[in-house]
């Protein structure tokens, strides 16, 4: 008989999950960060070329032609509109949806914790992320290392200046795959996920900051001490698993519009779906969003790490295959 009706997560893991959610809400209540909710069905889609949005249809009447809406892949755009509306510090725990992301550590519908801190930069936000996760995961502290130092240490290259050809040569020394690509970031991501992350397994919590400027996404770009342009972006890896991604947020509306246009151009070149970008976010930035830092954290993975499980289905009651 099929067991598809049955929850994949144990009751023990579900209790732990609920407990962690309660602790997170307590953490933010104590720090006077406001819990908010933003729409899951939006009129604009994420611009990041490698995040594919799930579409749905809204029909005013069953027989009327529907309008396309997009299941949000992150509450970032909407929460920034709240910041520009004067919300002050905010956090949200919500579902996020991403097409095709299904595997041992991915569920196409997953739970995200996202928060924004006006007046913080990304280094101060790392302190706060650390204060949240260290007790939940039983860590003592987290290390911090720049993206540049990390690549020097594990691969002896400069990730800010190496050419796509140089990165391809190093990648092929470590990974067997058939790929030709003149996009440096695709090679860097492969080296990170296939070569560096597996070596962070015994390192506990590691913040990696100062990403290459080309991977800024929605972060400010600044010069590092060596004068190289770097993104004010960090990621937190715990035992080599990507857990959180944060920025010292871009507040420049014109630059935001330029980055949307750049993502759309890349989608066109690569034959990826082109969907409407969020003009309301650009308008919000034009009206003025406070200087702030923000971070998104995968809560299913946080529970996985807290429980020491290998599969995301151990902590999601009814994952995609049983939804």
């Amino acid at each position: 008989m099929s067991e598809l009706w049955k929850a994949t997560a144990s009751v023990e893991n579900l209790r732990k999950r609920a407990e962690i959610f309660t602790q997170i809400r307590g953490f933010f209540a104590e720090r006077d960060v406001l819990e908010v909710e933003t729409p899951l069905m939006t009129t604009a889609a994420v611009s990041d070329p490698y995040i594919d949005t799930i579409e749905c249809r809204y029909h005013p009447l069953p027989e009327q032609q529907g309008q396309t809406r997009y299941l949000q892949s992150s509450p970032e755009y909407a929460m920034k509109r709240l910041l520009a509306s004067g919300s002050g510090a905010i956090y949200q725990i919500c579902k996020a949806f991403r097409n095709g992301e299904y595997g041992k550590r991915h569920n196409p519908e997953f739970t995200m914790l996202e928060w924004y801190r006006p007046g913080f930069d990304h280094h101060r936000l790392m302190d706060e992320v650390e204060a949240l996760v260290v007790p939940l995961l039983g860590l003592t502290s987290c290390q911090r290392i720049s993206y540049g130092e990390l690549f020097h240490q594990y691969l002896d290259i400069d990730p800010y200046s190496a050419t796509a050809e140089e990165l391809a040569v190093i990648t092929r020394e470590h990974i067997e795959l058939e790929m030709d690509d003149d996009n440096r970031d695709n090679w860097l991501n492969l080296l990170m996920s296939h070569v560096i992350e597996p070596q962070l397994v015994d390192s506990g919590g590691v913040f990696v900051y100062d990403y290459p400027a080309s991977q800024a996404a929605l972060a400010k770009v600044m010069k590092n001490s060596a004068g190289q342009s770097v993104a004010c972006r960090f990621e937190l890896f715990v035992t080599g698993i990507e857990l959180a991604n944060g920025y010292f947020e871009l507040t420049d509306a014109a630059e935001q519009a330029r980055r949307f246009a750049q993502d759309i151009a890349q989608r066109q070149v690569e034959g990826l779906p082109v969907r409407p970008t969020d003009s309301l976010l650009v308008e919000a930035l034009e009206n003025g969003m406070p200087e702030c830092a923000g971070v998104a954290m995968g809560l299913d993975r946080l529970v996985m790490l807290a429980q020491g499980t290998e599969q995301i289905s151990d902590v999601i009651a009814l994952p995609f295959g049983r939804a």
Binding site: G100, E101, K104, R105, H106, E176, L190, M192, H194, Q215
Partner: protein, 207 residues
Amino acid sequence: MCVNFAVASVHQIIIYFEIVMANYPSNQFKNGLKVMIEGDPCSMVDVEFVKPGKGQAFTRVKLKNLITGRSWERTFKSNETAEGADVMDTDMEYLYCDGEMWHFMDPQSFDQVAADKTAIGDAHQWLKEQDKCLVTLWNNNPISITPPNFVELEVTETDPGLKGDTAQGGSKPATLQSGAVVRVPLFIEQGDVLKIDTRSGDYVSRA
């Protein structure tokens, strides 16, 4: 005309099979899937979806070459495909060895196949006539043989047994009817039938 039609339809069936068998996109990869890599049939041992938050998706696969036994890792792009391999595991009965080839029979269809030295590998030392083995066929040819986990084989040669020495826990070599040499306790005698774990090659007990 009739003959031509028959030929055409067989041809169509072959084409149909090629379409159905041919290619698996990387998002359908799963443990146990058999695919062709560089001309050899391979089995997927571990399949992992890899996708950084902002980066491209890949599928990282641990593969085992079913001919050479080599295991290694290979990464596939999300739009990459792999050609399916016509590999089948079948329970068959071991018949005999003619000195060069080992012969097996499907007990249902009575179809017989012959495995060469490469396909038989180390399995030959555990084979006893009429034992059931798992025969891996690629395009209907045997490429590997897995003996039962436990086999019962007679001792054909060993030093005389030392009765009363069972507590000492010593051991000695014994040659079995299949030709294998295993370490056995000192009390084992020629003619005893022993139970052997073929995965480790260890003596388990007297049968």
